[in-house]
């Protein structure tokens, strides 16, 4: 099929960007979105143009690198990562707009590539446990309720792709931060640092320049890992408790 790609082109962090349209023939519906971009880039290289820079790594939906806003939606029309989106989701003759994640905390480096270092620093602020846990403990020594284990695991599936920020009209990273707070806060290993974790991570979230949460759930609708909205309420609950105890 023949499609038209309208892509955000920006030379570097300092340059002004703009949308540029390219026509692309011979696109198979079985191609993944990134494979389609590879073909487009080959064409651009052949024509002596600068290929479109985009992030990707595993291409199997688990690393969180490939973030593109497709037709105004983070990761495009399906609830999945961009690499797992296929061209069968589009029609012959479609005009497809591709843009980078747009947020103050995610400065564009080039074209579709943004610096998501803000997420790393939120993790550095408290998204870990510092107790040496040694080898795997005896399974029945510290019982964890089934629903806690399930919730912790589903929160831990967050791949930090940043779609929540790109989708949020406030540019808030609350779903990401909340997923990390929930994942450790529900397990015994996470308890000693539970208060300081939520305090430090929320403080870092705001220092990075992310917006506030308005509980509209646009983030969860675009999250490729289906992190539920209740994680944000859990973060709010944890921070309320931590602040009332007043220790960081």
């Amino acid at each position: 099929m023949r499609i038209f790609i309208r892509a955000w082109r920006q030379k570097n962090a300092e340059a002004e960007g703009k949308m540029v349209t390219y026509a692309l023939d011979g696109v198979s519906e079985h191609m993944s979105f990134l494979e389609m971009l590879d073909v487009l880039n080959e064409q651009l290289t052949f024509e002596g143009e600068d290929p479109i820079a985009f992030d990707s790594d595993c291409r199997e939906g688990i690393c969180g690198m490939c973030g593109i806003v497709i037709n105004g939606l983070a990761h495009g029309p399906e609830v999945t990562t961009t690499c797992q989106l296929h061209m069968r989701s589009f029609k012959d003759g479609d005009h497809i707009d591709i843009e980078p994640w747009r947020a103050k905390a995610f400065p564009v480096i080039k074209d579709l590539v943004v610096d998501r270092g803000a997420f790393d620093r939120i993790i550095q602020a408290g998204g870990y446990i510092s107790a040496p846990t040694g080898s795997a403990p005896e399974a029945n020594a510290a019982p964890v309720a089934k629903h806690d284990a399930d919730d912790a695991f589903s929160a831990a599936t967050c791949i930090a792709c940043g779609a929540c920020v790109a989708a949020c009209p406030n540019g808030s990273a609350m779903l990401f931060t909340a997923a990390k707070v929930t994942h450790l806060g529900l397990l015994p290993q996470g308890q000693p640092e539970r208060d300081s974790r939520v305090i430090n991570m929320v403080a870092q979230h705001d220092a990075e320049g992310f917006g506030g949460c308005t509980n509209i759930g646009e983030c969860t609708a675009s999250c490729p890992k289906g992190i539920p909205l209740s994680t944000i309420a859990r973060l709010n609950r944890d921070l309320l408790g931590a602040l009332s105890r007043g220790e960081a």
Binding site: G171, H205, F210, T214, A242
Partner: protein
């Protein structure tokens, strides 16, 4: 590559790598965070919801007739005497309410300004694509919440001038609160502006009640639709909007009090 240095961002390795410079300890920053502003919005908002319920109950006294309504209005001023001074309770309510309004608006403005910047708007545009402008699951209520708040604020000023302060009196002035209400709501534009304001209140409450409880950490459901808070928001919104619309509708369409 040249990267601009700013007072608040540390730029290293000569590349686009940068990190924020912070001076306050994390606990202090957490106390001033967006989440705390959301707590403020939630608590002040819920105080106002409580007031709306009381106000609505008072309005429904219109159906008790002129004596019943005027007596209620008078009793509000003498409530708690002699333990409280004349209009003591009213002033307590007014001070609490004013504090709630100020905190609510202050937090809303702080958050709105910050959110707008955080979303990376440039020349009024975030995403250039004209497709899916309305997102995936955002509702009309959440889209218009901030503008709806402005509509409600303007309405409250007019409403206070009309029925509390008696500075403007469409349909004729009167010492009787009952007559002021009836005189006013017999006029089509007074009724219409009231209906519009109540719709704005309804949209504001529908998202606001859910959001307030969620901000305070009370949502335990995975989706908004599956949350009991959504049901609570629906019930409270309908009760308040219908409750407020009953008296003016009875006056305008069914000639109550004329």
């Amino acid at each position: 590559m040249k990267v601009s240095l700013s007072r608040t961002w540390r730029v290293s390795k000569g590349l686009a790598y940068r990190e924020p410079v912070v001076t306050l300890p994390a606990l202090k920053r957490a106390r001033r965070s967006t989440v705390v502003l959301k707590y403020t919005m939630a608590v002040s908002g819920l105080i106002m919801v409580g007031y709306l319920l009381l106000h609505m109950y008072g309005n429904l006294k219109v159906f008790a007739g002129q004596d019943g309504f005027d007596e209620y209005a008078h009793h509000l001023r003498t409530f708690g005497e002699p333990m409280l001074p004349h209009e003591g309770l009213l002033w307590i309510v007014r001070v609490v309410l004013l504090a709630a309004v100020v905190l609510h608006v202050y937090s809303a403005v702080r958050l709105a300004v910050r959110d707008r910047k955080a979303a990376g708007y440039k020349n009024g545009t975030r995403y250039h694509s004209k497709q899916n402008r309305r997102g995936v699951q955002r509702s009309y209520a959440t889209f218009t919440l901030r503008w709806g708040g402005l509509v409600i604020a303007l309405f409250i000023v007019y409403h206070l001038l009309h029925l509390t302060g008696n500075q403007i009196h469409p349909g004729g002035a009167s010492d009787s609160p009952y007559e002021r209400v009836v005189n006013g709501f017999e006029i089509w534009w007074v009724y219409l502006s009231y209906v519009v304001a109540m719709l704005a209140v309804g949209f504001h409450l529908w998202h606001g009640i859910w959001s307030a409880f969620t901000s305070l950490g009370q949502n335990r459901a995975d989706t908004r639709r599956g949350s009991r808070l959504t049901a609570l928001a629906w019930v409270l919104t309908l009760v308040i909007v219908v409750g407020f619309l009953l008296p003016p509708t009875a006056i305008f369409f069914f000639g109550l009090g004329s």
